[in-house]
Symmetry: C2
Subunit: 604 residues, 2 copies
């Protein structure tokens, strides 16, 4: 979707939008850390995130890869910068083609800085000399397909900032008319260069309107995070710094922490003035950092850690292709990126009833270019070994790791792409802990919910005035002995449906092979019942390969192939069962009592 449409919808609804800008990190580990950060920041619901093109297009390939993952794995509406620097037509054509392919519809068209070693900008052979040329070319070649954003300079482009006030005024207005040309050529949104003088932005905005620019004008905000960085940036951009800001900074410049906090306070005050004066939204230059940008938005009441509103329990990529996606198997709920990757070839997404999906094949796990690339790095191996055991002498050592994960002492397990357990599982943390202590190694679960308001901060999702429901769910590995003993007890449990399978594919279940169980659903005004999460044998069979494989590819590889530790892991992977249990009585069931031998026998 074009960001201009999202902005206009926000303006119409009387809400304030915000967005985050990132740049391509220089190291692989930096890239992976960025994805983790974006993952968290995306949960606040930015209207879009953008990624810069890197100086001189040097990071073109990496930028495209990051943009694609942002759009398709982080699931945030993504805008990619494009500059003219070192950019012949073929290279631009190629970049736009790739954007189309990965479902990105938004670009920020810039001239960019002169190539290294050159003082002034000159177009490359067969390339573009200005952002205006770029906008015109994209529109000529791709019609209205792309949403095009352009840069606005509240204090004029640094290249034309001069000391002579009369000349400066001329230059300022020439710059404004050039901006108008970019809009007339097809630019739809203006994001401004960073500034610290709100008055200058307000004048700029007024001046834009006076020459007929009607599109959204979004102030670009760069929170002050370090003293040195601030000095360099304002110098480079020739940004006017109001005296009260410089003076305040001078007072705390020796304390990094104090300066950062001051930056948040100053940023908050500045943004508040902008919003009060009518700015429709805020564009945050994050410098790939989280705290300052997020704190400012929190101070403004635009985001709240306890009030994350989710349209669905899971995050859907903002691409047209997946716009109809309504249903997902529960199995990947802790590995959404793996799911997205393995379904990326699907032409059509199951809409509503899962059973109607034409059973498209899941991509193989090996096709999946794992996001957490640092899992191959020495640092990661070291961290993983310290969390999952320098060595393992028996199954009990593995059980201890799962128990530690439940109590929060271990942050990550191979079956989860994110750090820590989901907040909603807090409700059943005690029960999960007991399960793991009993040797049922849980990798996925949800508590039962019998009609919570859709606005509930932990389990709510969807629109207002709805009710959401969940059937209690737990999925775990356990030894064949434990499984057979549990299975006997489950025969007394009328409301429970289960599937158990070992690595070889021996499936034991008390439901039919084509049954699809909706385990999360929501009822909303004037809507059909939305049922976004299901449990079904077909996808379970696909998932189990991935689940068993992760023992080896993530955990086993920490140890020497012939070691005892390695054997402990591979023994589990080759002999244990993966079990999925749903308690269909979401009104009054108690899923966990069946794992307690005494309690279960009392009820059976």
């Amino acid at each position: 979707m074009k960001v201009v449409d999202k902005m206009n919808a926000s303006i119409k609804a009387g809400t304030t939008f915000f967005s985050f800008e990132f740049f391509p990190p220089r190291t692989d580990e930096g890239v992976e850390n960025l994805f983790d950060r974006q993952d968290r920041m995306a949960s606040y619901g930015p209207t879009f995130c953008d990624v810069t093109w890197g100086a001189g297009g040097s990071t073109a390939e990496l930028t495209l890869e990051i943009a694609s993952k942002m759009q398709n794995m982080i699931c945030v509406e993504t805008m990619m910068h494009l500059t003219c620097t070192n950019m012949p037509t073929e290279k631009l054509d190629d970049a736009l083609k790739q954007l189309k392919q990965c479902g990105i519809q938004n670009v920020l068209a810039l001239r960019g800085d002169p190539p290294k070693g050159q003082a002034t900008f000159q177009a490359v052979e067969g390339g573009f000399a200005s952002a205006l040329d770029l906008v015109k070319y994209i529109r000529a070649k791709h019609g209205s397909h792309f949403g095009i954003t352009v840069s606005g300079y509240p204090e004029a482009h640094p290249d034309i900032i001069v000391d002579d006030p009369q000349q400066m005024d001329k230059n300022y207005w020439a710059d404004l008319h050039y901006l108008k040309d970019k809009i007339d050529a097809g630019g739809e949104v203006i994001i401004t260069q960073l500034f610290y003088d709100v008055e200058r932005f307000l004048k700029f905005e007024k001046d834009c309107r006076s020459i007929g620019i009607k599109c959204p004008i979004v102030p670009g905000i760069m929170p002050i995070m370090t003293y040195g960085g601030f000095q360099r940036m304002t110098g480079f951009c020739k940004t006017h710094v109001p005296p009260h800001i410089s003076e305040a900074l001078e007072r705390v410049k020796d304390s990094d922490e104090a300066l950062k906090n001051l930056g948040i306070d100053l940023g908050t005050a500045m943004c508040k003035r902008l919003l009060d004066a009518g700015a429709p939204g805020l564009h945050m230059y994050t410098l790939n950092l989280e705290r300052s940008a997020v704190s400012i938005l929190e101070n403004l009441g635009l985001i709240s850690k306890s009030k994350v509103t989710r349209p669905l329990p899971w995050r859907r990529p903002a691409t047209d292709k997946r716009a109809q996606e309504q249903v997902r198997p529960i199995f990947w709920s802790n590995r959404p990126k793996s799911y997205l990757s393995r379904t990326s070839d699907w032409d059509e997404f199951p809409t509503g009833r899962w059973g109607n999906a034409k059973s498209p094949a899941y991509g193989t796990l090996s096709d999946y270019q794992f996001m957490r690339r640092h899992s191959c790095s020495g640092k990661w191996l070291q961290k993983a070994r310290s969390a999952w055991g320098e060595s393992l002498s028996s199954v009990d050592d593995v059980i201890k790791v799962f128990v530690s994960y439940c109590s929060g002492r271990v942050e990550v397990l191979p079956w989860s792409e994110s750090m820590g357990m989901m907040t909603e599982t807090n409700q059943i943390q005690k029960q999960l802990l007991q399960l793991n202590q009993r040797g049922f190694l849980t990798i996925n679960s949800q508590p039962r919910i019998d009609g919570a308001p859709s606005s509930d901060p932990h389990v709510g999702w969807g629109g207002p005035n709805g009710y959401v429901y969940q059937k209690a769910y737990v999925e775990f590995f356990c030894s064949p002995q434990r499984w057979h003993s549990l299975q006997t007890r489950l025969k007394g449990a009328q409301s429970l449906t289960y599937m158990a399978v070992d690595a070889a594919g021996d499936l034991q279940s008390n439901i039919g092979p084509s049954e699809v169980n909706a385990v999360t659903w929501g009822v909303f005004p004037a809507k059909e019942v939305v049922q976004p999460t299901v449990v079904d044998p077909q996808s379970f069979t696909v998932w189990k390969d991935e689940a068993f494989q992760l023992w080896e590819t993530e955990w086993g590889k920490l140890y020497e192939p012939e070691s005892e530790s390695h054997k402990v892991v591979t023994d589990i992977a080759s002999t244990w069962f993966l079990v999925s249990v749903v308690d269909n009585d979401y009104v009054s069931g108690d899923l966990f009592k069946w794992f307690d031998e005494e309690s279960a026998n009392g009820h059976a």
Copy 2:
């Protein structure tokens, strides 16, 4: 579906099946009464119903029409009899073609009686001489498409019953071997001729098994209803009547009522013995009457008026074509036959999400050959006039009729195809009464239900161990003044969504044109949420034409075109609004308070 498959499923599940046999009545009114009766009897869940071919095929056309309506409007699995009498090949081909067209898959293949005036059976030119020929022909021509049932004669075919015991024994075994031939040729089920001596059936069943007949053998039961009828029937069929039965009948033969009750008791005892001895089901020869057959099944505990189990809130025809039908608009819930007729051309049924339906066009109301044909008869007009008013002098007279309908003093209104209100509306009868007294003429409604057990006798449906839900719904006609005043009040009602339209099509609504609101849904173990009833503007727009038209075609036509009474009706139809209101708060909403001016203002 073939009845043999349904029978085998019942046998496998350890349940007892039953079926009802009817014959084509001689008068139009008789036919319409039969449909009403079948409608009620179908709600008990017979495995199938069958209709006879009439002596000598004289009622062929009527039989086909009745069978088609049974299958497609009454929505019961239907079996049609076919006899050889006066049946050349072309006529049979034509009948089978018609059966295929209307989705009937089951036939009962009989030789039939000799044509009138002939003493023994002779095939017509180019026709069939025996049921065996018929079975062979159907299998040769149509492969396994049709389910074929054949007749079994526990006391041998009447034609070959003789006094000489030795010859009789020979004849009996010859008849059995002929039956075996019919099964070998493709017969799948045996239904027996009526009998009153259970021992003879049990011997017959045993003898059948002894010669290798393996298919279901279903005893045919004709409850004794009149003394004369019983005498004629047993004489004609040469049926052995055990002395205890004849003696008991002789004692009460002078009282019709006593005899009928005795017939029920004797039938119950006889069936109980049959079931105890292992009969898998019962085939009831109803003679188009309800009480005896239903009472016997009730006595046996096979059916219960308070425990009707419905797979869905509405009844779906048992045809392959509609097997996927999962969703219906609420508007036709009191006129299911009209809905079935107007959607009979749909190739595909909306599965799951209504919005995905390719919006097939509804057939026009005039295409709809109204089931209640007697509505054209003088008798019906008289009855309708006495219920809806010999004359109307003002709207108040119309209001009185609706109020009487709510209190049960009027049995039927033009907007309902069945007699009396649905049992679930009893819960809101008081509120509906008040609404009608206030001039909101209700034609459709349902109470809110927040998770009732799916086994609830009034509102339950679907499988066991589920929970069903409903959003409160009411639909009514009211004057423009009442509507505008109500609409103002509804602005204060956050949880209410409404659509109002007049005959000219002026639609006023607080929901989008493509919103689909599920107002009935159920949550079941190991299933997706089933949402069989929806409210949506698209079908409302189709329905409103029908709803407004019924004022004239059903009610207005009771009066002279220029009369005051006629004007009262046409004025309503041309100026009033049809309004549909849903309360989306099924957990704690009170839909009706908004109709009470004082109460609503207090809340607004």
